[in-house]
């Protein structure tokens, strides 16, 4: 593997790791491990921990994938490994 593709792969893995940390925090953190603490906070009729477990985490999941898509497309171009446009 040459330096260029090693650098590309490293950046890729770093991006995915960062996004998966957020993925873990909103679901396992806010929705499960710290749910009782967050449930003492109530916003707009929802206990916050309950809201993350049944709504919030899902919205964040969607956002994370689209952030990933945008960042990877940029990274592909930066390293010249993107696919040709038809």
């Amino acid at each position: 593997m040459n330096d260029q593709s090693a650098a590309y792969w490293k950046r890729n893995v770093k991006l995915v790791a960062t996004l998966l940390v957020i993925w873990f925090i909103v679901s396992y953190g806010f929705g499960i491990l710290f749910v009782d603490a967050l449930n003492t906070i109530e916003i707009a009729g929802f206990q916050l921990g309950f809201w993350f477990a049944q709504q919030g985490s899902i919205y964040v999941f969607v956002a994370l994938i689209f952030v990933y898509v945008a960042k990877m497309n940029k990274l592909d171009r930066e390293f010249g490994v993107h696919e040709d446009d038809d």
Partner: protein, 588 residues
């Protein structure tokens, strides 16, 4: 028009649509049969993936489960959506770059081993049959309730429809029918939810309504729900009594299992480019989230409506409970199916619905003159009965029936296709009869699909014990067997043939053995299925996580002491890690 006629029209029209699409999208090559010629637009593929993914369980059972579990139902909401992040970031783009047809094919190539491929096919077939039997059962239930036909008639009609478009059209036919099925199911799911949300809170958006105040009061819906259910001795809706470790393990097993299910993964083989595989996973989750963020609102509203229907007055007051004579029509209709029943234990002619397993509540109940809970409600009926409970027009109920069938058929078709490609492509062409021509392979695929439909129908009609354990078996085994070897195949260059085979077998045997021992599937129950007996406090539903960790550990360990993967495999891994150079779309 009466309900049955309307339902026949709604279901009939949806079937005509699916068959029309099947004829238009007939597959003529193996590429079209297995992966729709890799020419599917990412948004379209996202929609098809959503329909593929959302099964009879998502449509019919999930909101009902949440209604009765409250916060405890969150494991399904997070578990069945969070896996798409793993799919998008860890699997889909690389498997698309690899560019062939099936999941076992990737495992066989990456680990340069026919044995690995066969082990993967066996896992795939077992997982998929467990899953598909539940779908056929769902079709049968909807038919027997709404069209008032025998379960077997419903099954045969359902099998016939799937046969037409899965066998003729393969992946190409399935993709476009799944798009139609998604539209049917999402409309059918959201319309009643919007009506009910508006009736209860004045806010038509279910996602916001269940955090809104009840019409005409300043009381938030979830607060009202908490107080209504606790007054009857039930657990508060927004909390749970399950242990944190078990909730954690089940959620993780469902997420990882989602990312390891072959019928989901293979959908990302059908898009033209690597970057489409990434965005397609995002679109799939958007379409899934529409239903999955509506479901908890439906669950909460259904629980509130049901409880307040049975207990319209003050708890404990003489006339606080619904009189059996005055029960609404929907209860009468569901009583005939046996899924809802009433037993007048204290002989007062009124229905008492409360938690009689709660010892602290027993003295109060005795003071009220209650002699035990009198109403039994199968939680599977909550979504189907919801429009009736909310007194919505008959066409909405007919639409829900068509939606339930769409959800079951779309998932069944996706599963049948991976079973048939596992047999024709991985077992026959890939292993036992490599000399087959493309025409013969296509024919073998069609025959395998047809045979799989008949077996699935039989399992749906006469379900063996393992079918009821879809969550434990399908997700647990996908998490413990397929997911780790695919991930290691992409992210590690060190894991070799010996490691992968040993890892898969250990993950599979451990998880399967644990579930069998506690649930008594195939064998008698060996250990009582209670929390005190569970390993690390993890139930059979969550044990796939431990199986997955074992798989990783064994694979790395064995790979360390055996020979490294050969040079050309290391090049293959480097190649699938970059998007450039993916094989393009095949012409239709």
């Amino acid at each position: 028009m009466d309900l049955t006629t309307l339902t026949y029209i709604a279901v009939g029209l949806s079937f005509a649509l699916y068959i029309g699409i099947a004829i238009w999208a007939k597959a003529s090559t193996t590429g079209e049969f297995y992966v729709a010629g890799k020419g599917v637009n990412p948004v379209v593929n996202g929609m098809a993936t959503a329909a593929d993914w959302m099964s009879a369980a998502s449509f019919i059972s999930m909101a009902g489960l949440i209604a009765f579990l409250g916060y405890g139902g969150s494991v399904y909401l997070m578990g069945w959506t969070g896996g798409y992040c793993l799919l998008a970031m860890l699997l889909a783009p690389y498997l698309r770059k690899y560019g062939k047809f099936t999941v076992p094919e990737f495992i066989g190539d990456r680990y340069y081993s026919k044995t690995a491929r066969i082990v993967a096919v066996i896992c795939l077939i077992f997982i998929s049959f467990t899953y598909v039997a539940g779908q056929m059962r769902g079709v049968g239930i909807v038919f027997s309730r709404f069209l008032e036909v025998e379960l077997i008639t419903g099954l045969v009609v359902g099998m016939g429809i799937v046969f037409i478009y899965a066998v003729l059209g393969g992946m190409k036919g399935i993709t476009y029918t799944q798009v139609a099925q998604y539209c049917v199911l999402i409309v059918a799911y959201t319309i009643p939810a919007i009506f009910i949300a508006f009736q209860l809170t004045g806010n038509p958006l279910p996602q916001l309504a269940f955090g809104s105040t009840i019409n005409g009061t300043g009381e938030f819906m979830l607060e009202r729900l908490n107080s209504v259910v606790t007054e009857l001795g039930f657990l508060e809706y927004t909390t749970t009594n399950k242990s944190t470790i078990d909730i954690f393990a089940i959620t993780l097993a469902l997420m990882v299992g989602t990312a390891g299910l072959p019928h989901v993964i293979v959908r990302f083989f059908t898009v033209p480019k690597v970057r489409d595989a990434r965005s397609s996973a995002g679109w799939a989750l958007v379409f899934i989230a529409l239903l999955y963020t509506t479901a908890p609102a439906v669950g909460a509203m259904a629980r509130l409506n049901l409880t307040e229907t049975i207990q319209p007055g003050e708890v404990g007051a003489e006339d606080g409970n619904l009189s059996y004579e005055e029960r609404p029509d929907w209860m009468k209709r569901w009583e005939t199916t046996g899924l809802l029943s009433f037993e007048d234990k204290n002989g007062d002619g009124r229905i008492q619905y409360y938690n009689d397993a709660n010892a602290d509540f027993a003295t109060k109940a005795a003071e009220y003159g209650w002699a035990g809970n009198e109403l039994t409600v199968d939680r599977d009926i909550m979504v189907l009965a919801n429009p009736e409970i909310a007194q919505l027009p008959n066409w909405v109920i007919a639409l829900v029936a068509a939606g339930g069938i769409a959800a079951a058929l779309s998932t069944a078709a996706g599963l049948l296709l991976v079973i048939s490609s596992g047999v024709s492509h991985d077992l026959l062409k890939g292993t036992f009869t490599p000399d087959m021509t493309e025409g013969q392979e296509l024919m073998a695929g069609r025959i395998a699909a047809a045979a799989a439909i008949v077996i699935a129908g039989y399992l749906g009609y006469n379900p063996p014990g393992f079918v009821a354990q879809v969550v434990a078996f399908a997700f647990g085994l996908a998490a413990a067997s397929l997911f780790p070897v695919i991930i290691m195949g992409i992210f590690s260059k060190k894991v070799n043939r010996e490691g992968a085979i040993a890892g898969m077998l250990v993950g599979l045997i451990f998880t399967m053995g644990y579930i069998m021992a506690y649930k008594g599937i195939f064998i008698p129950v060996m250990i009582e299925n209670v929390e005190a007996n569970w390993l690390f406090g993890i139930s059979p539903e969550g044990i796939g996580v431990v199986g997955m960790l074992l798989n990783f550990a064994v694979a790395f360990g064995v790979s360390k002491v055996t020979a490294e993967p050969p040079e050309h495999i290391q090049h293959m891994i480097e190649d699938i890690r970059v998007p450039k150079g993916a094989s393009g779309a095949v012409d239709h």
